[in-house]
Symmetry: C2
Subunit: 152 residues, 2 copies
């Protein structure tokens, strides 16, 4: 063991919580989940463990707009579909996107190592429903700022 990482019950509990979940949990949810069995677990421990697990490829951290990070037990490369209605997150595999890496590398001059696509839409339950949270989809038919807002 070169680096000296230690195998503790807390880390095992935290990894188990991520793996037992059928959804993508936030750190707070993982904390609550572990705390049911071990009431002395600390928030800091959860965050430190999740970072360590993510660094070592045992879980995958996901970040989405205006909400807490979520943790995925799947560590192979894959993509996500995010429901704008209820927020549910579903794993998908979109192998065709591999082609895109060449395009991105050519356009940017980068050495591209990985990629992740987030699709946004509506799950089966939320199709047809429109909520106030969807206001962001309304476009600017009636809104203008000064008269320079049509450049570019």
């Amino acid at each position: 063991m070169t680096k000296g990482y230690r195998n503790t019950v807390q880390r095992t509990q935290i990894l188990d919580a991520v793996r037992a979940a059928d959804s993508h949990l936030t750190a707070g949810e993982i904390f609550e989940c572990v705390r049911r069995r071990d009431p002395r677990i600390a928030y800091g421990t959860v965050y430190r463990a999740l970072h360590l697990l993510a660094q070592h490829g045992l879980v995958q951290e996901l970040t989405f707009a205006d909400q807490a990070s979520r943790y995925d037990k799947r560590v192979d490369r894959h993509d996500h579909v995010h429901c704008l209605g209820c927020g549910v997150l579903v794993d998908v595999d979109v192998p065709v996107a591999l082609i895109a890496r060449h395009v991105a590398a050519e356009q940017s001059g980068f050495e591209v190592e990985s990629h992740h696509t987030v699709f946004a839409g509506r799950c089966r339950e939320c199709k047809g429903k429109r909520t106030t949270a969807d206001a962001r989809h309304n476009r600017a038919e009636t809104f203008a700022l000064a008269d320079d807002e049509r450049e570019g």
Copy 2:
């Protein structure tokens, strides 16, 4: 003007700041930028304006792992390449990804409305350099948790 949105100097300054920038600024950077000209600008005003501008399609909000939201003057659909070395963000167009929406919709049962791909890699300047921040790329050769960590 149906909704009653008002055209204020602050909103114009904030939109101008996003448009004048050659990079993708955070709300904090936009605040600092506007404050140079108008020292009385408030943080709350910047956030409220950015949300309004984003809702109306005049700027685009971008969210990435473990950092603040950034704002993009480009409002057409496009993707991003993120440098793991220096953090720089570059716009790219990857039209081939449109095919992927069908795959994602079929696999998830969602009605897919949009998608966004983030490519991670190294810009021209950072190629060849390795920093401590890249620790996340090291895999778990020497790290194990209990003996159940090879399922799945």
